[in-house]
Subunit: 489 residues, 2 copies
């Protein structure tokens, strides 16, 4: 065997083990008996130790040195393996282990503090997480920018400078759009009886309509919806609320976007580093374009209104226009995960600026709540009423995910770029969405983006698919046009 | 850390990984999307390679050499780790890999041959399996008896000589009992409409009644019911047949017995080699005593009859006596897994004699079907009508499980011993079973047997619990008494 073949065989086993680890995570959120949390912790730790040992195995360096990539895909495989090897070897083993233990415990401490509305109870732990993450970031940065180094875990090739430029351009227009909308009367929401079994049945059908292959996936319930797995086993979850069917519907469509990205990657890349979505941002572009640009469009909601009334009877809105308005209501609120298309990115920018300051040492953990509340009041115009609606609302920082938040908004930006190109490529898009026909859109996304998996860098794959360098403008143009029409601005 | 501590830490991770591997097996039979079989194969192979590397890790030998056991439990841990290390290192890696690949493929070939009633299509594969298993057995036997070496994988400490002595004593009395019963009129079976959701609800309640802790387990459906996992995550499966509720009920109670054994092991042994049932035979003793001696008793079925009629309405038998007779019907049949208490062990003895002859080279694969059919006719008095009712009915040989079959009957023998002791220890057993109260029985089994996990050797733990060396006599006495009364012999 050549060095490349040896490396790819070894890596294939690592990828297979990583799939198992991911499936354990799925099991934990869907199937695991509650009384087995502690044993599961030991199982996950053992699995992580195996994966870390493989990712930092000295033979990988030798193979990487000797391997001839052959073609473009081979070069991309080597690039991804090298990135993983560097990541695994740069951070001292002791630090990695301490961080893993701490973030495993701190999630519980955060959850309790949030339940108790007690920021002070969480701060000592968060301080320790921040301290260790700074240390880890310094190890990864090799003298470069710490936060940029962290971004590579989620959005390889991106820098804070690039993101800041995009976010600065977005913030002004989004704040203005938000203010204009909130001066208008709020559309009515749904009312009615939304049987949870019927919601799940509808969710299954919607997932299929958006191209999800149930023969290589499954839909279950979870407290926090997610998508999990790569290759031929990509599972999604959703949740139901008997008074709010949108929760289930749009969580399902969102996760279907993530899952279809994974399922539609070229099968030749299965169980290789290219056989996964290339970044969190590109992943989010798929979930968001499925959920928002397609799922919340006037054309598609017109069709969905019919299915809703056939499924649930009276739903409290009289016609498709009323339904479209209900789907796209813009309301004051504190919680990121419940935010609409207009306000969502403002939530992200707040977190992005705060976490950069934390990592740079420009903001201390003791001052974080005040900084959060000031910024929130500035962007949203009203005060945070309690910590669970403010600084304690997200799990991310408790588990050390610094550098993750901006990828949500990058995903929205990428979705804007792709949607512009999709509309140009498929002039009949709206008339087909109005019939509940998603194939023209999902086929285009599969062929132009999803199939490539990890072959191209994140920005590159968006640029190839959309025909232009990524920019925030298409997203902002789309949002302004949509909500100007909807709210008669 | 001492050598023992280092070894136990390493072993603990191996046990955790083995739990993950087991849970993948559960997932495959219950949750896995059908289209992911091939990827799952790669995942399982990667996991098995990790486990094999750990079990044969040279450091284990060094630690075993240096470790001071300390106490009885420590000595037992070392005994089990040594056994696992010897097992993993005795078989050449190439042979192990070839066998794993072959038995993975041969299961599919067997299933197809069974569906097609085509023995010839399976024989070339079975020949290769037998050849490689003989080779593996020779490697394990180190010059000793090949079949005895194979038995150690399932029933450590047992020899074919011991088993043969027990089986020879059983066969005569069982053939006679069977003949006497079959001269009598067959009791009526159930008729009625057995809604599958109600069956599952009943199954969940029965599992709880028999002591299954749903906080550390769960019940799902599977084509072939099984129990899976150790420690605090032990899952069971059952199946439903709309015309035959016994299938669901007694599969559930059977698997509950297996699961309670695992769940009731001393928590101090969790994720250690002692934290699992000590052998297949002892495991089967628990599933069988739950299912048969308790679940099919006159006292308990009297109570169950009430619950059945409350759940399903009319079930085709008029009273508890009729229900008891229906539960315990002895009928001609070909299939081991559908056999009653009287005939089940005859099926096992047939397979035991044939597989010993195959492994010893006294019987060739080409002559296997004829040998099966001759022996079946001799013990059961009628001819096998088709291969799926004969030599192709069980999966075991196709996947290389030689030495496994006799543990089913050993389990019945052990259950007989335990039941005799249980009756002596709990004089009120029948009156409590008649109220659906299982605790006196399950508490006794937990305290006297299940809690010990792998601490004592299989024969020893049965001897300790039952107060006498294991013997087939209690089982035979129990069967003769039960069926003599039931069939008025």
């Amino acid at each position: 065997m050549s060095a490349l073949e040896e490396l790819m065989t070894f890596q294939g086993e690592t990828e297979a083990l990583a799939q198992i680890s991911g499936r354990l995570g799925w099991d934990q959120e869907t199937m695991m008996p509650r009384g087995s949390a502690r044993q599961r912790g030991a199982e996950m730790a053992a699995m992580e130790a195996v994966l870390h040992a493989r990712r930092s195995d000295p033979r990988v360096a030798v193979w990487l040195e000797a391997a001839e990539p052959g073609d473009e895909a081979g070069a991309a495989q080597l690039r991804e393996i090298r990135r993983s090897y560097d990541r695994a070897t740069k951070v001292p083993a002791d630090l990695a282990k301490t961080l893993a233990q701490l973030t495993s415990e701190s999630q519980g401490i955060w959850a309790q503090a949030r339940a108790d509305e007690d920021v002070a109870a969480f701060l000592p732990t968060l301080k320790e997480v921040v301290r260790l993450k700074r240390e880890e970031g310094a190890a990864l940065a090799d003298g470069g920018d710490v936060y940029d180094a962290m971004l590579q875990d989620y959005e390889p090739g991106t820098t804070a400078k690039e993101i800041t430029k995009i976010f600065d351009a977005m913030r002004v227009r989004l704040v203005a759009l938000r203010s204009a909308i909130l001066e208008k009367p709020m559309p009515a929401g749904l009312t009615g009886d939304f049987d949870e079994r019927l919601q799940m049945k509808l969710a299954r059908n919607l997932a299929r309509d958006f191209g999800y292959d149930m023969n290589r996936g499954r839909l279950d319930k979870a407290v926090h919806p997610f998508s999990s797995g790569s290759g031929s086993d990509v599972r999604i979850t959703t949740r139901t609320d008997p008074t709010d069917p949108f929760n289930c519907i749009y969580s399902t469509i969102h996760e279907t976007g993530h899952a279809c990205y994974e399922l539609n990657i070229d099968p030749a890349y299965q169980l290789t580093p290219l056989g996964r979505g290339v970044s969190m941002g590109v992943h989010e572009s798929q979930s968001r374009i499925y959920e928002n640009q397609l799922g919340r469009s006037q054309a598609f909601t017109g069709w969905l209104f019919g299915r809703m009334t056939r499924t649930f009877g009276e739903i409290g809105v009289a016609d498709a226009d009323g339904f479209y308005a209900a789907v796209n209501r813009v309301r004051n609120g504190y919680i990121r995960t419940e935010a609409d298309e207009v306000q969502y990115n403002l939530h992200i920018m707040l977190r992005y600026d705060l976490e950069r300051a934390l990592m740079a040492g420009d903001l201390e953990v003791d001052d974080l709540e005040a900084a959060w509340n000031d910024r929130f009041a500035a962007d949203f115009g009203y005060a945070v009423d309690k910590p669970s609606n403010g600084v304690l609302q997200d799990v991310h920082w408790s588990v050390g995910l610094f550098g993750y938040f901006p990828t949500y908004s990058l995903g929205n930006v990428y979705a804007g770029c792709l949607y512009q190109a999709l509309r140009a490529a498929v002039p009949t898009l709206d008339s087909q969405l109005a019939l509940g026909e998603l194939e023209p859109a999902t086929d285009w996304l599969r062929a132009n983006l999803q199939t490539h998996g990890g072959l191209y860098a994140p920005r590159d794959v968006i640029a190839r698919a959309s025909g232009a360098e990524p920019s925030e403008r298409p997203l902002l143009d789309y949002l302004e046009a949509k909500f100007t029409a909807l709210y008669d601005l």
